[in-house]
Structures are given as structure tokens and as C-alpha cells.
Symmetry: C2
Subunit: 306 residues, 2 copies
């Protein structure tokens, strides 16, 4: 059993997760980030207290954060979604609770959920890539989460691949997430359409990543080019990560991963073609098991991976 919190930009979700990774109780409140840190802190405390009443033997609570933590895991250094900078969240929560509080990056929480109960279960080294609006990541080696000397490990989405036609939100150019996120897919298609590409997507007023995958599966050449481009950069990044830390398995999660085998097969092919030792060091690459609940499930199990 464990208590896990997923602090998101729109909602704070909390759950009691059993030893099989099943959420037994779930609570949710709106994230009132516009009312400031104090309000969100207060709402977090109330939600955790309620869950702790339901699971009074628990000694720790894990909290997944959509931002960067300090190396010692006590402080939210930066959390743009919530407009937070340098907030001593661990201390502030522990003062109000009779629980030890463990903080974790939300993409790392998703990686832990997969390692504890999902697609990478039983593997001592795994990397998760979460493909959504951006690209998040989590790294586990020897059954331990790698958080880094400065707390910024697993920022896979900001590895620089090569020059791209738009800058990343982080201020750099060429970050993986500008090639391999839902946003990247959409922006690439929009740019190609603006430059005169023919596509079924032209008729759509607005299209999302799901629509692009549908068009690609139906044979639309622009959509297919966009998906192949995304897969190429992912395969390249996976190969580079393999050359550095050679994990046993990669899990592909986030909204974009709902494209399923259509995407997965392309990523595998591209990984193989970029790997140094494709014949004997090809990592397994799988679709992640969990989607929206991974933050809670991972946060609840953080204590087993640090």
C-alpha cells in the first residue's frame, strides 16, 4: 500500500495504491494555482490528510510534481505550470502532516509506475519516454531512480538533436520534444501545409495528434511523413541513450503512445538503424501500461526506488 499524489496544472489527484498497483481510493481537487502557493499547499494538505485517514498505517506520501526539484528532493526549484520557483514543499507539507513526504518529478513517477506494476516490471534498468505536449522522461538504473547531482536528470525531452524550425519552450533550439511530441507533430504538419503540402489535414479547421495518426494510418502522405519524422528522432534518441547507459527496456507513454503498434514498429526500426550494436544490444521497446493514473501509482511507490 502507498499514498501517491499527482500534482498537475489543472487538478491535484491523490490515491491509495495497493500492492498490485491498483488504486483503491481516489480523491481529486482543482489546482487553484492562480490563488498562489499557499492555497495549493493547503489543498494538498487537506487531500493527503483525508487519504491518510483512510490508510492510517502509512508512514510516507509521494508527491509527483510537474517541474524541477532540487538535488536533495526537498524544494520545487521551478514549476512553470504552477508559477512556482524555489518552494520548500517537502518541509511545508511535513510541518502540516504526520507523514514523511517524498517529492518526485511527474515523468519519473510515471517511469516508477511502469517499473513497479507495468510494462517494465521486473527489469532493473529502464527508461520511460512520455510523449505528450512535451517529452518527459524517467531513468531507472539498478532499481533506483536517477535524479541527478543537480536534480535535473531524465530531462530527455531537452536533449538537443539538431536544428529545428521552431525554438523549444526552454529557450533552446533542437530539443527532442520539438521533434517528438504531440506539439511537434502538429507544428510540423501546419508548417508543411502553409508551404503548400497536399493533405487530408487541410480540410480540418484544427487537428490534433490523434487526427494526424488517423490520417497517417489512412495513407495521407503528409501525416505519414510527420509520423515517420517523429519516429526517426525518437529512434535516434533511444539509440543515443542506449549508447550511454544501455538500459534493458524503454517504455513509450503519454498521449501520443495511443497510436500503438503503428508508432511502436517505426520507433523500433529507427532505433535499430541508429544503434551502434543493433545485433546484440537492441533494447526492448514497449508501449507503457498506464496513462492518467501513472503519476499517482508511481508517487505511491517512490519509496521503493530511492
Amino acid at each position: 500500500m502507498g499514498i501517491g499524489i499527482d500534482l498537475g496544472g489543472t487538478a491535484i489527484k491523490g490515491g491509495i495504491v495497493d500492492h498490485l498497483g491498483v488504486i483503491q481510493e481516489e480523491r481529486m481537487v482543482e489546482t487553484q494555482s492562480q490563488l498562489g502557493y499557499g492555497q495549493v499547499l493547503n489543498d494538498l494538505v487537506l487531500l493527503i490528510k483525508e487519504l491518510h485517514r483512510l490508510a492510517p498505517t502509512e508512514k510516507t506520501v509521494g508527491v509527483g510534481i510537474p517541474g524541477i526539484l532540487s538535488a536533495d528532493g526537498t524544494t520545487v526549484v521551478s514549476c512553470p505550470n504552477l508559477f512556482w520557483k524555489n518552494k520548500p514543499l517537502k518541509q511545508d507539507l511535513e510541518r502540516a502532516l504526520s507523514l514523511e513526504v517524498l517529492l518526485v518529478n511527474d515523468a519519473t513517477a510515471a517511469c516508477i509506475a511502469e517499473a513497479a506494476f507495468g510494462s517494465t516490471r521486473g527489469r532493473s534498468s529502464s527508461v520511460m519516454l512520455t510523449l505528450g505536449t512535451g517529452v518527459g522522461g524517467g531513468v531507472i538504473i539498478n532499481d533506483q531512480v536517477i535524479s541527478g547531482a543537480h536534480g535535473v536528470a531524465s530531462e530527455v525531452g531537452h536533449m538537443i538533436m539538431e536544428a529545428n524550425f521552431y525554438d523549444c519552450g526552454c529557450g533552446k533550439n533542437g530539443c527532442l520534444e520539438t521533434f517528438a511530441s504531440a506539439t511537434a507533430l502538429i507544428r510540423y504538419c501546419r508548417k508543411q501545409l502553409a508551404e503548400g503540402a497536399e493533405s487530408d489535414l487541410k480540410a480540418a479547421e484544427n487537428f490534433d495528434a490523434r487526427r494526424i495518426f488517423e490520417a497517417a494510418k489512412a495513407g495521407d502522405s503528409l501525416a505519414l511523413a510527420a509520423v515517420n519524422r517523429l519516429a526517426r528522432y525518437l529512434g535516434w534518441a533511444i539509440a543515443n541513450i542506449s549508447d550511454l547507459i544501455d538500459p534493458e527496456i524503454f517504455a513509450i507513454g503519454g498521449g501520443v503512445s495511443s497510436a500503438g503498434e503503428f508508432l511502436l514498429e517505426r520507433i523500433k526500426t529507427e532505433t535499430k538503424s541508429h544503434l551502434t550494436y543493433p545485433d546484440y544490444a537492441m533494447p526492448e521497446i514497449v508501449l507503457a501500461t498506464f496513462r492518467n493514473e501513472s503519476g499517482m501509482i508511481g508517487a505511491a511507490n517512490l519509496c521503493h526506488f530511492i
Copy 2:
């Protein structure tokens, strides 16, 4: 104390290394790789036995290999310098010796030497980049060597950066070592000269990396462009590695690192400009302490890092 062997393409060097990292006894024989695996194995056994007689209380010997090991560390999967493929070296040595044999990649041995007694001593996470004919690497996290699920971790030199004008020896294009090795420097200068670049290097019949650095320090524009290019790719790679595993410190070793601060300052600047969080997550970057003895010293200390 420890016994460490550095099996190189031209020589087998063995040493007894004390607890301060000083080589107390050293022996060396020619690597007769042209006579086949059996001969090299025999010479290894004789050399290790001689060292073991001088340090009879030792229970293990570490052997650094210029190639790829199997994930379980028992077999030399590939060692082009010695023309070896799939040699069960651990078993073959242990049959002939009364010692436990530990095998390690030679670049990883160098990384261990730095972590045990050199530039990265006392740091629990470090990455070493060895800049020579190629680019080797070593990765230590939580005081443990990362060898990978397939034994091919720390192949930093084969991370693909972007298209380059010549292919890597591994068969891929764009590998870091085609941008950031001594070979890369020389080939870049030769290509630019062939295309009409003006440079003091033009007068030299043959020039090596050392000569290029001398010319760069003297203000030669081609040599300076070559050095800046090398530093740019190294900084970019270091930043990408930091985004993934965020080590505390990087050590720059190998022959190219004898360019010293002139090179180091450029690498630091380029790292900072490619990092996602340069203000609070800049890794330390230092010159390695050891040069030719690092293989022996690291191999002798392998048992403390696995």
C-alpha cells in the same frame, strides 16, 4: 592494493597498485595479437602470475580490454584491435590462475582510476570522456560503474550528433568521435586545406592533433576553427548527457586533453550554451589526472566500483 592489467593493442601492461593509486610494481610484454588468442591468453597468464607472486594476498585481478564485453562481464564480445570475437576470457584466465578475474572496458577503467584517485575522486557520479584516436567513455552513478543491460553502456563516442563528412569506423555517420577525437581534428583540417583554406598547417607535411593545438594557440584561423568545432560538439554532448543522467562532474582525458585549459575553457562555454539549466545545473568539467597508467590503476580498483 590491487592487481590491474591494461590489455592494449601493442602492449600488455600490468601493475600492483597501492591504496593511494600509486603503481608499486609494473611489468609489460608485447601484445602478440598476430599469433592469436591462445598466445595473448598465455602471455596474460604469465604476467598476472608474476604480479600475483609479488602480491600473494590479492584475491582478484582486474583486466581492462579495448573492446566490448558481454553484459555478465565474462566474455570479450568484440575487440577489433586484437581480432577477437566472443572469447570467454574470464573463464580462460580463471582456469589458469588462482584469482578471481574481473573484466572491464578500458575507457571505463580510466573512469574508475579518476574516481578512485584522480580528478573525480569523492564524487559519486561522474562521466569520463577519453579523447584519443576515437572517443571512449566511462559512466559512474552512485559509485557504481554503469556497464549496461547488454554490456555496451558508456559508448559515448558513438552517440550520433549530426551528419558528418566522413563515416565512423563503426559504420554509422555522425558519431561524436568523428567530431571530437584527434582523428576528427586532423581530418577536418585536411578537408579544409584541400578545399583551399589558408593555414600554417599547410606547410606541414603531416600534422597531428598536438600540432593543430599549437597552431590554434598561435592564432591560426583554420586550427582555431577546428578546435572550436571539437569543443562545440563536446559541449553539446556533455549537455545531452547531463540532461539524461546529470552527473556531478565530467573528466576529459586522453591525448587530446593535453591541450589543457585552452581546450577546457572552450568545452565549458559550449556546455553552458547547450544546457537546459545552465544557471543551477552546470556540471563540473575538469582535466583528467591520469594518462597512460589509468588503465592499470582503474582495473586494479574495479572491484570497488561494481
